[in-house]
Protein backbone atom coordinates (compact mmCIF):
# COMPACT_ATOMS: atom_id res chain seq x y z
CA UNK A 1 0.00 0.00 0.00
CA UNK A 2 1.53 3.30 -0.95
CA UNK A 3 2.46 5.65 1.77
CA UNK A 4 0.51 8.42 0.10
CA UNK A 5 -2.67 6.73 1.23
CA UNK A 6 -1.48 6.71 4.80
CA UNK A 7 -0.76 10.17 6.04
CA UNK A 8 1.71 10.20 8.87
CA UNK A 9 1.21 12.56 11.72
CA UNK A 10 4.42 14.46 12.25
CA UNK A 11 4.39 14.15 15.99
CA UNK A 12 4.16 10.39 15.76
CA UNK A 13 6.78 10.21 13.10
CA UNK A 14 9.26 12.22 15.02
CA UNK A 15 8.44 10.97 18.43
CA UNK A 16 8.60 7.24 17.74
CA UNK A 17 7.02 6.66 21.08
CA UNK A 18 3.78 5.06 20.06
CA UNK A 19 2.75 1.56 19.24
CA UNK A 20 -0.37 0.18 17.69
CA UNK A 21 -1.52 -3.39 17.84
CA UNK A 22 -3.91 -5.59 15.91
CA UNK A 23 -4.84 -9.18 16.61
CA UNK A 24 -6.70 -11.79 14.64
CA UNK A 25 -6.60 -15.51 13.96
CA UNK A 26 -4.75 -17.44 11.30
CA UNK A 27 -3.04 -20.81 11.06
CA UNK A 28 -5.39 -22.01 13.77
CA UNK A 29 -3.84 -19.67 16.31
CA UNK A 30 -3.50 -16.03 17.27
CA UNK A 31 -1.70 -13.46 15.23
CA UNK A 32 -0.39 -10.26 16.79
CA UNK A 33 0.80 -7.34 14.75
CA UNK A 34 2.44 -4.39 16.45
CA UNK A 35 3.84 -1.41 14.62
CA UNK A 36 5.77 1.64 15.71
CA UNK A 37 3.77 3.96 13.51
CA UNK A 38 0.09 3.70 14.36
CA UNK A 39 -0.87 5.39 11.13
CA UNK A 40 0.60 2.47 9.25
CA UNK A 41 -1.14 -0.30 11.12
CA UNK A 42 -3.72 -0.85 8.39
CA UNK A 43 -1.04 -1.01 5.75
CA UNK A 44 1.02 -3.46 7.74
CA UNK A 45 -1.99 -5.54 8.55
CA UNK A 46 -3.00 -5.87 4.91
CA UNK A 47 0.51 -7.01 4.06
CA UNK A 48 0.64 -9.55 6.86
CA UNK A 49 -2.83 -10.94 6.10
CA UNK A 50 -1.94 -11.42 2.45
CA UNK A 51 1.37 -13.06 3.31
CA UNK A 52 -0.14 -15.49 5.77
CA UNK A 53 -2.97 -16.34 3.44
CA UNK A 54 -0.55 -17.19 0.65
CA UNK A 55 1.51 -19.38 2.96
CA UNK A 56 -1.58 -21.11 4.28
CA UNK A 57 -2.73 -21.92 0.77
CA UNK A 58 0.64 -23.44 -0.03
CA UNK A 59 1.64 -25.14 3.21
CA UNK A 60 -1.42 -26.14 5.22
CA UNK A 61 -1.89 -29.82 5.99
CA UNK A 62 -5.56 -29.23 6.72
CA UNK A 63 -6.53 -27.65 3.43
CA UNK A 64 -7.32 -30.13 0.69
CA UNK A 65 -6.48 -27.55 -1.94
CA UNK A 66 -3.06 -26.71 -0.56
CA UNK A 67 0.09 -27.65 -2.41
CA UNK A 68 1.26 -29.58 0.61
CA UNK A 69 -1.89 -31.72 0.59
CA UNK A 70 -1.36 -32.47 -3.08
CA UNK A 71 2.18 -33.59 -2.37
CA UNK A 72 1.01 -35.83 0.46
CA UNK A 73 -1.73 -37.30 -1.72
CA UNK A 74 0.82 -38.18 -4.38
CA UNK A 75 3.24 -39.90 -2.00
CA UNK A 76 4.99 -42.77 -3.71
CA UNK A 77 3.86 -41.68 -7.12
CA UNK A 78 4.80 -38.75 -9.27
CA UNK A 79 6.60 -35.55 -8.47
CA UNK A 80 4.17 -32.72 -7.84
CA UNK A 81 4.63 -29.23 -9.14
CA UNK A 82 4.13 -26.75 -6.31
CA UNK A 83 4.18 -23.04 -5.63
CA UNK A 84 7.56 -21.50 -4.94
CA UNK A 85 6.34 -20.72 -1.44
CA UNK A 86 6.16 -24.41 -0.64
CA UNK A 87 9.58 -25.14 -2.04
CA UNK A 88 10.95 -22.35 0.11
CA UNK A 89 9.09 -23.63 3.14
CA UNK A 90 10.48 -27.09 2.50
CA UNK A 91 13.98 -25.71 2.19
CA UNK A 92 13.52 -24.10 5.58
CA UNK A 93 12.19 -27.35 7.04
CA UNK A 94 14.99 -29.41 5.58
CA UNK A 95 17.56 -26.94 6.82
CA UNK A 96 16.03 -27.35 10.26
CA UNK A 97 16.37 -31.10 9.97
CA UNK A 98 19.96 -30.85 8.90
CA UNK A 99 20.94 -28.42 11.64
CA UNK A 100 19.21 -30.40 14.36
CA UNK A 101 20.32 -33.84 13.27
CA UNK A 102 16.74 -34.78 12.47
CA UNK A 103 15.21 -33.63 15.74
CA UNK A 104 13.00 -31.34 13.68
CA UNK A 105 11.63 -33.34 10.78
CA UNK A 106 8.93 -32.40 8.27
CA UNK A 107 8.11 -36.04 7.55
CA UNK A 108 6.28 -36.62 10.82
CA UNK A 109 2.90 -35.96 9.25
CA UNK A 110 1.92 -39.61 9.33
CA UNK A 111 2.97 -39.89 12.99
CA UNK A 112 0.83 -36.87 13.85
CA UNK A 113 -2.15 -38.41 12.10
CA UNK A 114 -1.53 -41.66 13.93
CA UNK A 115 -1.47 -39.73 17.18
CA UNK A 116 -4.88 -38.35 16.29
CA UNK A 117 -3.84 -34.94 15.02
CA UNK A 118 -5.64 -35.29 11.70
CA UNK A 119 -7.56 -32.02 11.70
CA UNK A 120 -7.37 -28.55 13.13
CA UNK A 121 -6.37 -29.23 16.71
CA UNK A 122 -9.23 -27.11 18.04
CA UNK A 123 -11.58 -29.76 16.66
CA UNK A 124 -9.87 -32.53 18.60
CA UNK A 125 -11.09 -33.76 21.93
CA UNK A 126 -9.32 -31.52 24.43
CA UNK A 127 -7.16 -33.07 27.07
CA UNK A 128 -8.55 -32.99 30.56
CA UNK A 129 -7.29 -30.29 32.85
CA UNK A 130 -5.73 -32.82 35.18
CA UNK A 131 -3.84 -34.27 32.26
CA UNK A 132 -2.10 -30.95 31.94
CA UNK A 133 -1.39 -30.72 35.63
CA UNK A 134 0.26 -34.08 35.94
CA UNK A 135 3.62 -34.98 34.64
CA UNK A 136 3.03 -35.80 31.01
CA UNK A 137 5.61 -38.53 30.90
CA UNK A 138 3.70 -40.75 33.27
CA UNK A 139 0.42 -40.59 31.46
CA UNK A 140 1.51 -40.35 27.93
CA UNK A 141 0.89 -43.36 25.80
CA UNK A 142 3.55 -43.67 23.18
CA UNK A 143 2.37 -43.93 19.65
CA UNK A 144 4.78 -46.14 17.86
CA UNK A 145 4.53 -45.04 14.31
CA UNK A 146 6.00 -47.94 12.43
CA UNK A 147 6.42 -45.80 9.41
CA UNK A 148 9.30 -45.28 7.17
CA UNK A 149 10.11 -41.65 7.54
CA UNK A 150 13.00 -39.29 7.45
CA UNK A 151 13.66 -35.93 5.95
CA UNK A 152 16.31 -37.38 3.68
CA UNK A 153 13.67 -39.16 1.64
CA UNK A 154 12.23 -35.93 0.30
CA UNK A 155 13.07 -35.15 -3.31
CA UNK A 156 12.86 -31.43 -3.80
CA UNK A 157 13.66 -29.87 -7.14
CA UNK A 158 13.90 -26.17 -6.54
CA UNK A 159 14.38 -25.17 -10.14
CA UNK A 160 11.41 -27.12 -11.40
CA UNK A 161 9.44 -26.44 -8.22
CA UNK A 162 8.54 -30.09 -7.81
CA UNK A 163 8.38 -32.27 -4.73
CA UNK A 164 8.21 -36.02 -4.48
CA UNK A 165 7.94 -38.08 -1.34
CA UNK A 166 7.93 -41.85 -0.90
CA UNK A 167 4.87 -43.88 -0.11
CA UNK A 168 4.02 -43.84 3.60
CA UNK A 169 5.38 -40.34 4.10
CA UNK A 170 3.25 -37.33 4.91
CA UNK A 171 4.72 -33.88 5.28
CA UNK A 172 3.86 -31.52 8.10
CA UNK A 173 5.50 -28.12 8.29
CA UNK A 174 4.05 -27.17 11.65
CA UNK A 175 7.47 -27.10 13.29
CA UNK A 176 8.89 -24.39 11.04
CA UNK A 177 6.26 -22.79 8.83
CA UNK A 178 4.69 -20.64 11.51
CA UNK A 179 7.93 -18.97 12.52
CA UNK A 180 9.04 -18.67 8.93
CA UNK A 181 5.73 -17.03 8.09
CA UNK A 182 6.22 -14.58 10.93
CA UNK A 183 9.65 -13.65 9.59
CA UNK A 184 8.35 -13.18 6.07
CA UNK A 185 5.33 -11.20 7.19
CA UNK A 186 7.35 -8.91 9.43
CA UNK A 187 9.92 -8.24 6.72
CA UNK A 188 7.25 -7.61 4.12
CA UNK A 189 5.29 -5.28 6.36
CA UNK A 190 8.38 -3.38 7.36
CA UNK A 191 9.45 -2.98 3.76
CA UNK A 192 6.04 -1.84 2.61
CA UNK A 193 5.21 0.42 5.53
CA UNK A 194 8.66 1.65 6.46
CA UNK A 195 8.30 1.31 10.20
CA UNK A 196 9.32 -1.07 12.92
CA UNK A 197 7.11 -4.16 12.96
CA UNK A 198 6.54 -7.08 15.28
CA UNK A 199 4.58 -10.11 14.11
CA UNK A 200 3.65 -12.87 16.51
CA UNK A 201 2.00 -16.07 15.34
CA UNK A 202 1.03 -18.40 18.12
CA UNK A 203 3.81 -17.12 20.31
CA UNK A 204 6.49 -17.18 17.62
CA UNK A 205 7.65 -13.60 17.33
CA UNK A 206 9.51 -11.91 14.50
CA UNK A 207 10.60 -8.32 14.32
CA UNK A 208 11.77 -6.10 11.49
CA UNK A 209 12.92 -2.53 11.41
CA UNK A 210 13.58 -0.25 14.30
CA UNK A 211 12.47 -1.35 17.72
CA UNK A 212 10.75 1.01 20.14
CA UNK A 213 12.73 2.61 22.89
CA UNK A 214 13.67 -0.17 25.28
CA UNK A 215 13.01 -2.84 22.67
CA UNK A 216 10.01 -5.00 21.90
CA UNK A 217 8.63 -6.22 25.20
CA UNK A 218 7.76 -9.89 25.28
CA UNK A 219 6.40 -12.02 28.08
CA UNK A 220 7.54 -15.64 27.85
CA UNK A 221 5.34 -18.23 29.45
CA UNK A 222 4.01 -21.74 28.90
CA UNK A 223 0.98 -20.85 26.83
CA UNK A 224 0.84 -17.83 24.57
CA UNK A 225 -2.89 -17.55 25.19
CA UNK A 226 -2.31 -17.08 28.90
CA UNK A 227 -1.31 -13.47 28.50
CA UNK A 228 1.19 -11.26 30.22
CA UNK A 229 -0.25 -12.05 33.62
CA UNK A 230 0.77 -15.68 33.51
CA UNK A 231 3.84 -16.91 35.36
CA UNK A 232 6.91 -16.35 33.29
CA UNK A 233 9.39 -13.62 32.50
CA UNK A 234 9.11 -10.34 30.65
CA UNK A 235 12.06 -9.47 28.47
CA UNK A 236 12.76 -7.16 25.58
CA UNK A 237 14.49 -7.73 22.29
CA UNK A 238 15.91 -5.10 20.00
CA UNK A 239 15.81 -7.17 16.84
CA UNK A 240 15.56 -10.70 15.53
CA UNK A 241 13.08 -13.27 16.71
CA UNK A 242 11.96 -15.18 19.72
CA UNK A 243 10.07 -18.45 19.86
CA UNK A 244 8.66 -20.61 22.58
CA UNK A 245 7.74 -24.25 22.22
CA UNK A 246 5.86 -26.15 24.87
CA UNK A 247 4.41 -29.56 25.44
CA UNK A 248 1.71 -28.03 27.61
CA UNK A 249 -0.18 -26.60 24.67
CA UNK A 250 -1.92 -28.14 21.69
CA UNK A 251 -2.85 -31.21 23.67
CA UNK A 252 -5.69 -33.56 22.93
CA UNK A 253 -7.03 -36.90 23.95
CA UNK A 254 -6.72 -40.06 21.94
CA UNK A 255 -8.51 -42.82 23.74
CA UNK A 256 -7.22 -42.78 27.28
CA UNK A 257 -3.98 -41.06 26.37
CA UNK A 258 -3.08 -37.40 26.31
CA UNK A 259 -1.17 -36.32 23.25
CA UNK A 260 0.69 -33.20 22.29
CA UNK A 261 2.07 -31.88 19.05
CA UNK A 262 5.81 -32.06 19.66
CA UNK A 263 6.70 -35.33 17.96
CA UNK A 264 10.01 -37.07 18.44
CA UNK A 265 10.93 -38.23 14.93
CA UNK A 266 12.98 -41.06 16.39
CA UNK A 267 9.93 -42.68 17.95
CA UNK A 268 7.05 -41.18 16.03
CA UNK A 269 5.41 -40.39 19.37
CA UNK A 270 4.96 -37.21 21.41
CA UNK A 271 8.24 -36.33 23.06
CA UNK A 272 8.70 -37.28 26.69
CA UNK A 273 11.69 -35.16 27.62
CA UNK A 274 12.16 -33.41 30.90
CA UNK A 275 11.62 -29.93 29.47
CA UNK A 276 8.08 -28.72 29.13
CA UNK A 277 8.71 -25.24 27.70
CA UNK A 278 11.70 -23.78 25.88
CA UNK A 279 12.10 -20.16 24.75
CA UNK A 280 14.93 -19.15 22.45
CA UNK A 281 16.07 -15.83 21.02
CA UNK A 282 17.86 -15.81 17.69
CA UNK A 283 18.65 -13.68 14.69
CA UNK A 284 15.23 -14.49 13.32
CA UNK A 285 12.12 -16.26 14.44
CA UNK A 286 12.75 -19.28 12.23
CA UNK A 287 16.07 -20.06 13.87
CA UNK A 288 14.60 -19.42 17.29
CA UNK A 289 11.77 -21.84 16.62
CA UNK A 290 14.04 -24.50 15.18
CA UNK A 291 16.12 -24.35 18.33
CA UNK A 292 13.21 -24.32 20.76
CA UNK A 293 11.52 -27.28 19.08
CA UNK A 294 14.72 -29.26 18.82
CA UNK A 295 15.49 -28.60 22.48
CA UNK A 296 12.17 -30.13 23.49
CA UNK A 297 12.87 -33.20 21.39
CA UNK A 298 16.44 -33.63 22.54
CA UNK A 299 16.78 -35.36 25.81
CA UNK A 300 17.33 -33.37 28.96
CA UNK A 301 20.88 -32.14 29.43
CA UNK A 302 21.73 -32.59 25.78
CA UNK A 303 19.30 -29.83 24.91
CA UNK A 304 20.99 -27.31 27.17
CA UNK A 305 24.44 -28.29 25.95
CA UNK A 306 23.34 -28.00 22.35
CA UNK A 307 21.78 -24.58 22.87
CA UNK A 308 24.91 -23.36 24.59
CA UNK A 309 27.00 -24.71 21.76
CA UNK A 310 24.82 -22.81 19.29
CA UNK A 311 25.28 -19.62 21.29
CA UNK A 312 21.56 -19.06 21.54
CA UNK A 313 20.10 -17.35 24.61
CA UNK A 314 17.43 -19.67 25.93
CA UNK A 315 15.12 -20.26 28.84
CA UNK A 316 14.15 -23.84 29.65
CA UNK A 317 11.45 -24.85 32.07
CA UNK A 318 11.30 -28.42 33.27
CA UNK A 319 8.25 -30.44 34.18
CA UNK A 320 8.42 -29.22 37.79
CA UNK A 321 8.64 -25.59 36.79
CA UNK A 322 12.33 -25.09 37.49
CA UNK A 323 13.88 -22.59 35.13
CA UNK A 324 17.27 -22.84 33.53
CA UNK A 325 18.76 -19.95 31.60
CA UNK A 326 21.25 -20.57 28.80
CA UNK A 327 23.81 -18.18 27.37
CA UNK A 328 22.87 -14.53 27.50
CA UNK A 329 19.29 -15.03 28.49
CA UNK A 330 18.70 -12.37 31.14
CA UNK A 331 17.99 -13.12 34.73
CA UNK A 332 14.60 -12.07 36.01
CA UNK A 333 14.51 -8.66 37.59
CA UNK A 334 15.81 -8.83 41.11
CA UNK A 335 17.79 -12.04 40.78
CA UNK A 336 21.42 -12.69 40.16
CA UNK A 337 22.44 -13.04 36.59
CA UNK A 338 24.12 -16.40 36.86
CA UNK A 339 24.36 -17.85 33.45
CA UNK A 340 23.18 -21.36 32.85
CA UNK A 341 22.37 -21.82 36.49
CA UNK A 342 19.44 -23.79 37.65
CA UNK A 343 17.16 -21.59 39.58
CA UNK A 344 14.08 -22.61 41.39
CA UNK A 345 11.23 -21.30 39.43
CA UNK A 346 7.62 -21.14 40.42
CA UNK A 347 5.95 -24.50 40.21
CA UNK A 348 2.92 -23.35 38.35
CA UNK A 349 2.44 -26.48 36.31
CA UNK A 350 0.55 -28.26 39.02
CA UNK A 351 -1.80 -25.42 39.43
CA UNK A 352 -2.25 -24.53 35.81
Amino acid sequence: MPDAALPIRPQLRSGRRHLATACWEAFGTNVVLRVREPARLACARAIVVAELDAIDRACSRFREDSDLSRVNAAAGARAVRVAPLLTEALEVALRASELTGGAVDPTIGAALVLAGYDRDWRLLEPAAVDAVARAPGKKMAAVRARLRSGWETIDLDVARATVRIPRGIALDLGATAKAWAADRAAAAAQAACDCGVLVGIGGDIATAGDAPDGGWRIHVTDDHRAGAGAPGQTISIAAGGLATSSTLTRRWRRGAATMHHIIDPATGAPTLGSWRTVSVAAADCTDANIASTAALVRCDAAAAVWLEHCGLPARLVDQRGAVRRIGEWPAPAGTSAVTAAVESGPVWADTA
Binding site: T21, T29, V92, D223, H224, A238, A281, A282, A333
Partner: protein, 152 residues
Amino acid sequence: MDHHAPHTQNPHTTRTRDAALRRLGHINRWLIAGSAALTGAFTAVAANAFPGRTVKPVTTSSAAHASSTSSGRSRASHASGALKPPAQAPRTSETPTTSTASSTASSSREAATTPQESTPAQESTSAQEATPTQENSVAPAQESAPVTSGGS
Protein backbone atom coordinates in the same frame (compact mmCIF):
# COMPACT_ATOMS: atom_id res chain seq x y z
CA MET B 1 28.64 -104.31 -44.07
CA ASP B 2 31.06 -101.41 -44.67
CA HIS B 3 31.49 -99.40 -41.53
CA HIS B 4 34.06 -97.01 -43.08
CA ALA B 5 31.94 -95.84 -45.93
CA PRO B 6 31.47 -92.06 -46.14
CA HIS B 7 28.55 -90.99 -44.10
CA THR B 8 25.91 -89.42 -46.22
CA GLN B 9 23.56 -87.20 -44.27
CA ASN B 10 19.94 -87.51 -44.73
CA PRO B 11 18.67 -84.16 -46.08
CA HIS B 12 15.77 -84.41 -43.72
CA THR B 13 18.13 -84.66 -40.78
CA THR B 14 20.07 -81.61 -41.92
CA ARG B 15 16.95 -79.54 -42.19
CA THR B 16 15.86 -80.67 -38.78
CA ARG B 17 19.21 -79.64 -37.32
CA ASP B 18 19.13 -76.25 -38.97
CA ALA B 19 15.62 -75.64 -37.79
CA ALA B 20 16.60 -76.56 -34.26
CA LEU B 21 19.55 -74.19 -34.41
CA ARG B 22 17.31 -71.39 -35.58
CA ARG B 23 14.93 -72.08 -32.77
CA LEU B 24 17.78 -71.98 -30.31
CA GLY B 25 18.93 -68.69 -31.75
CA HIS B 26 15.46 -67.25 -31.32
CA ILE B 27 15.28 -68.55 -27.80
CA ASN B 28 18.65 -67.03 -26.98
CA ARG B 29 17.60 -63.68 -28.36
CA TRP B 30 14.37 -63.75 -26.34
CA LEU B 31 16.31 -64.71 -23.24
CA ILE B 32 18.69 -61.79 -23.71
CA ALA B 33 15.84 -59.37 -24.34
CA GLY B 34 13.91 -60.74 -21.37
CA SER B 35 16.92 -60.42 -19.12
CA ALA B 36 17.40 -56.81 -20.15
CA ALA B 37 13.72 -56.07 -19.59
CA LEU B 38 13.70 -57.74 -16.19
CA THR B 39 16.86 -55.87 -15.21
CA GLY B 40 15.18 -52.63 -16.13
CA ALA B 41 12.03 -53.56 -14.29
CA PHE B 42 13.90 -54.53 -11.15
CA THR B 43 15.92 -51.33 -11.34
CA ALA B 44 12.74 -49.29 -11.53
CA VAL B 45 11.23 -51.16 -8.59
CA ALA B 46 14.36 -50.65 -6.53
CA ALA B 47 14.52 -46.98 -7.42
CA ASN B 48 10.94 -46.53 -6.29
CA ALA B 49 11.50 -48.47 -3.11
CA PHE B 50 14.61 -46.55 -2.10
CA PRO B 51 14.36 -43.06 -3.49
CA GLY B 52 16.41 -40.00 -2.73
CA ARG B 53 19.90 -39.89 -1.34
CA THR B 54 21.17 -38.01 -4.35
CA VAL B 55 24.06 -35.92 -3.13
CA LYS B 56 24.67 -32.99 -5.38
CA PRO B 57 26.24 -29.62 -4.89
CA VAL B 58 24.09 -27.18 -3.00
CA THR B 59 22.09 -25.06 -5.37
CA THR B 60 19.86 -22.08 -5.07
CA SER B 61 16.92 -20.99 -7.08
CA SER B 62 19.17 -18.61 -8.89
CA ALA B 63 21.78 -21.22 -9.60
CA ALA B 64 22.05 -23.25 -12.71
CA HIS B 65 18.93 -25.25 -13.25
CA ALA B 66 20.86 -28.25 -14.36
CA SER B 67 22.04 -29.03 -10.87
CA SER B 68 19.05 -27.97 -8.87
CA THR B 69 17.56 -31.35 -8.08
CA SER B 70 18.22 -32.18 -4.50
CA SER B 71 17.11 -34.57 -1.87
CA GLY B 72 16.71 -33.96 1.79
CA ARG B 73 20.37 -34.65 2.29
CA SER B 74 21.67 -32.08 -0.14
CA ARG B 75 20.00 -28.93 0.92
CA ALA B 76 19.65 -25.79 -1.06
CA SER B 77 20.02 -22.14 -0.26
CA HIS B 78 18.68 -22.21 3.28
CA ALA B 79 20.97 -25.01 4.33
CA SER B 80 23.95 -22.79 4.61
CA GLY B 81 25.10 -21.66 8.00
CA ALA B 82 24.24 -22.59 11.51
CA LEU B 83 21.50 -21.22 13.70
CA LYS B 84 22.23 -17.55 14.16
CA PRO B 85 22.22 -15.91 17.59
CA PRO B 86 20.57 -12.53 17.95
CA ALA B 87 22.59 -9.40 17.27
CA GLN B 88 21.73 -8.29 20.80
CA ALA B 89 20.89 -10.54 23.68
CA PRO B 90 17.44 -10.15 25.22
CA ARG B 91 17.22 -7.86 28.20
CA THR B 92 15.16 -8.01 31.29
CA SER B 93 12.11 -5.85 31.09
CA GLU B 94 10.16 -4.62 34.03
CA THR B 95 6.95 -6.51 34.52
CA PRO B 96 4.16 -4.15 33.66
CA THR B 97 2.35 -2.85 36.66
CA THR B 98 -0.49 -1.24 34.81
CA SER B 99 -0.95 -3.94 32.29
CA THR B 100 -1.52 -7.63 32.70
CA ALA B 101 -3.28 -8.70 29.58
CA SER B 102 -1.83 -10.46 26.65
CA SER B 103 -1.82 -8.94 23.26
CA THR B 104 -2.93 -12.24 21.85
CA ALA B 105 -6.65 -12.48 21.51
CA SER B 106 -8.11 -15.89 22.12
CA SER B 107 -11.39 -15.29 20.42
CA SER B 108 -11.95 -15.48 16.75
CA ARG B 109 -13.19 -11.96 16.44
CA GLU B 110 -10.80 -9.54 14.98
CA ALA B 111 -10.27 -6.96 17.59
CA ALA B 112 -7.50 -4.98 19.03
CA THR B 113 -6.31 -6.42 22.28
CA THR B 114 -3.83 -5.40 24.88
CA PRO B 115 -6.56 -3.69 26.81
CA GLN B 116 -4.21 -2.26 29.34
CA GLU B 117 -2.17 -0.51 26.80
CA SER B 118 -5.04 1.74 25.93
CA THR B 119 -8.30 2.91 27.25
CA PRO B 120 -11.43 0.97 26.37
CA ALA B 121 -12.22 3.50 23.74
CA GLN B 122 -8.85 2.90 22.28
CA GLU B 123 -9.48 -0.78 21.92
CA SER B 124 -10.82 -0.37 18.51
CA THR B 125 -12.16 -3.03 16.28
CA SER B 126 -10.34 -4.02 13.20
CA ALA B 127 -12.46 -1.65 11.20
CA GLN B 128 -11.33 1.15 13.38
CA GLU B 129 -7.76 0.04 13.10
CA ALA B 130 -8.13 0.27 9.39
CA THR B 131 -8.41 4.01 9.74
CA PRO B 132 -4.79 4.89 9.80
CA THR B 133 -5.06 8.36 11.19
CA GLN B 134 -6.85 7.41 14.36
CA GLU B 135 -4.76 8.27 17.30
CA ASN B 136 -6.99 6.50 19.74
CA SER B 137 -5.70 3.11 18.71
CA VAL B 138 -2.25 3.92 19.92
CA ALA B 139 -0.62 4.02 23.27
CA PRO B 140 2.71 5.11 24.58
CA ALA B 141 5.26 2.41 24.08
CA GLN B 142 6.23 2.50 27.71
CA GLU B 143 2.73 1.55 28.75
CA SER B 144 1.98 -1.11 26.19
CA ALA B 145 1.47 -4.64 27.36
CA PRO B 146 4.14 -7.08 26.26
CA VAL B 147 3.40 -9.51 23.49
CA THR B 148 3.18 -13.03 24.81
CA SER B 149 5.46 -15.79 23.61
CA GLY B 150 4.38 -19.22 24.68
CA GLY B 151 3.61 -22.61 23.28
CA SER B 152 0.88 -22.72 20.71
